[in-house]
Structures are given as structure tokens and as C-alpha cells.
Assembly symmetry: C2
Amino acid sequence: MRDEDGAAPLEPPPGESPIVVLVRPQLAENIGATARAMANGGLFHLRLVAPREGWPPEGSRDSRAWATASGAGRILDAAKVFPDLDSALADCHRVFGTCPRPRHVVTPVLTARGAAAELREFGARDLRHAILFGPERAGLEAEDLARCDALVRYPLNPEFSSLNLAQAVMVLAYEWWTAADATPPRILQTHKTEVATKGEVENLMEHLLAELDACGFLRNEAKRPGMVRNLRHWFMRGEITEQEVRTLHGVVAELSRGRMRRGRPD
Amino acid sequence: MRDEDGAAPLEPPPGESPIVVLVRPQLAENIGATARAMANGGLFHLRLVAPREGWPPEGSRDSRAWATASGAGRILDAAKVFPDLDSALADCHRVFGTCPRPRHVVTPVLTARGAAAELREFGARDLRHAILFGPERAGLEAEDLARCDALVRYPLNPEFSSLNLAQAVMVLAYEWWTAADATPPRILQTHKTEVATKGEVENLMEHLLAELDACGFLRNEAKRPGMVRNLRHWFMRGEITEQEVRTLHGVVAELSRGRMRRGRPD
């Protein structure tokens, strides 16, 4: 395995992450793009069954596959080649097969998310597990599917379900990574101390209201409470930071001073 | 819009699905691959801001972009081109920007799944909504991000977060489609009536046990209950179908008959 590429993922212990098995892949570029997608999702182990162009393609590790891998060349360096599917799966405890189209087979069918959750379980139980992806156009054959514990069918537009090979790997790798990720669906990216307190926002409101009273903007006593409330709602909704409060104090002050300078008190 | 491609998605009503905005995309192939990923996830509306190679690239609709779109050419046919980001977003109510690396900006950050859920809400409220993807290497710039209501950062391997453009679109399109999908994470793909009843399985067990008694396999009376229970566990775990029960009746009968024929009663 080569060492020079600092961005490449380190090899995880076997059994911890799923083995990606490309069955009869046709194009070297797609094998490289698969490696890149695997690295994005933290996968490492790649097996190739009877790749059409041989392996390494063009007899060299300096080829199209390594170019499209785009920094994930280590995965290609460590890839293992097998003449047939049975030899590729011989040491695996569990095998899933991706299968975009419905087939009349009596096998459990998982969504990508369901599959990711079960793959994580296999890892936790130290079961060596693999997921198969078929050749670019045809997909896995019935004989391949009969070797799978379950099939994986992504929920996608049924009117346009033909996925690029590396994109199929991407979705699985993404779901696998996400299955162990606890990022909340929405966060405000500030340090806690950067968010302004209610008191700081209220100071700003008072500064603004004083200037608005001074220039007569709030002169209609009947409408004043509603107008003030509308402004307050808008300030509260924005989840304002301390820095923004300071900036807005400056904006209010400068606008008022400009009005003064131009001699237009309203 | 061209009509000849029956596999291409139909145009959904505006506002119903997010507009994908590619900001300063560099390669025509990636624009085509983006269209294919959009079609996979049921998206249709594509806007291009200042594409480096112009649009259509090479002055023709019969180019690399249409080749990599692989049947999703209608999305490219209907794509709109804008000279700058502000003109591309002028009619949009909500805008998200994808941003793989942490930036020091005060903007909410969503996961892909969180973003998909919020995009679905915008659609339900008839708000025209867009999601921005930056140029291949550099990603969106600070000026682009300042135009976004929220940033989207996928949970992915932080040591290898550089995503291919079309794969970034794929993950978002996949999440958007999945957000409205109710497929259970695991199903057994049979008609309900094809799954064998407990009575059918029990008949098979009795057939098998009778033959095993006849050949003496269960002759150890002390071990017999445990051996029978083990066999029963295995039959129950497999979620067997009616067809499989019939096949297995045949297997048991033929094995017994073969044993008889070879004159080896045990």
C-alpha cells in the first residue's frame, strides 16, 4: 500500500466496515469513482470480480482508475481481484446485493437505510459482510442474487432508476456513514457565547425605538404598539449574534446622525 | 423540450421540487451527470450560473453533457442559464447552499436529511426554493454563501470530504426523494399468500421426521427432542414459502427413496 497520499483513508480493521464487491465491472473509470465514493463514506475494502479490463487496467497503477479515484488510490492499491463471485464471497458471513429493479425472487428487500443499519449490526457482531454491485448496464444476474442474504433497492424515482455505478456506491456509503452519525438536522453554527442575550437584543430595540420616536416614525400612537411588536418579532426570529447587535447599534446611530447632518429631522 | 425519450422525467410544476443551481460549473460532463442524478431523485429544474464552457457547451445540444445525462437530456434541454447568482435567485423564496467544509459564517447548518425535510416543507407551502452547488474544486465562495438561508453539510468521512459534483447532487436528490418515501426498511418480497402457513410447515416437519425416524437418524431417544427442536428452529427462521415447502417435500421423498433403492436403510 502506498503512503504518500496523506488524504487517503487508513485501512480499518476487517469486519468493521462492509466489503464493496464490484461484480464484472466494465470501465476502469467507474472502479476509480467507486473508490472515491467509498472514501467519502469511510469504506475501504474493495473486491473486484472478473473486471472486464483486467486489474490493474492497462497493466499499470498509473491509469484512469487511479485518476478518477481522486486521492482514494489507496483503496485501489489494496483492492483484491477474484475470478468468480463464489471465491470473492467465500470468507464472508453476510452478503447483500443491490438490485434496482424488482425481481421475482424470494429474498428480503431492504432500503439503502435499512441495509446500512443491518450492515452496522454485522460489524458490531464481527461478521465479515459484503455488498455487491453489478456491472454498469445489466446489474446483478439471478445467479448472483441467489448468493445474497438480502437485496437492497434504493427508494428512487421509478421512472428513472438507472443509477451510475459510482453513484449507487455513493448512496450506500453515505447511508452507512450516516447510520453512525449524530449530527443534528439543523444547528446554528456559532459558539454559544456569540449568540446575543435577550438583554442585548432589548438594548438594541430600545436604541432603535428611541431614534424612531425622535424622527417621528412611530408618531401614530394607535399603531405604535403593533409596529413595535412587528419589529421585535423580526429581531427575535433572526437568532442574532453579539457582533450583529454591535453592528446594528452602529447602523442605527449612523442613520440618525446622517439625518441630523442633512437637517431633515423626519 | 424534446419528446423522443420516453424514459425522461416529466416536468413537475414549479415550486413543487427544488431548483438545482450549479454555480460556475467547470465541466460539461459534470452538468450532464448532475442531470442524471436529478432524474434519479425526481428533480427537474436546473439553473446554471456562468458555466465555464458556456451553454450549451460546444454550441450544441449533442455534446458530452447530453451523453453523460444518459437519458435525462430533457433536464438539460430545459436548463436556464444566468450570468450571475443574484439573477438566478431573484424569483426564489428560499435558498440553501451546499458547503462541505466548516466556514466561519453565522448561518444555520443542515444535514442532507434535515435539508430534504425543510425543502419538502417549502414545496408544501408553495415557496420556490433552490439549492446551490459550487464549482468542482473550490466550492461556493463566501459571497455565494451570504445569499443562502442555510448551509447544507453532509455527514461524511471528514478525512475525505471532497465530493464529486454529481455525487453531491445525487445525495441531495436521494434524500429529497426518500423524505417522501414510505418503503419499509425490510420486506420479504412475496405475495402474502405465498408464505407458507404454520400448518404447511408442520406437515413438512412431520414428513421429514417420519423419514428420519425410518432411517434411524433420530434413534437416540435422549437427544431426539433437542434435535427435533433445532430442525424446527431452522425451518421457522427461513420464512419459507408454499413453493419451497412443496420442493422440500420432494427432496425428503426423493432422498428416502434413493436410500431405499440403494438398499441402505440407514
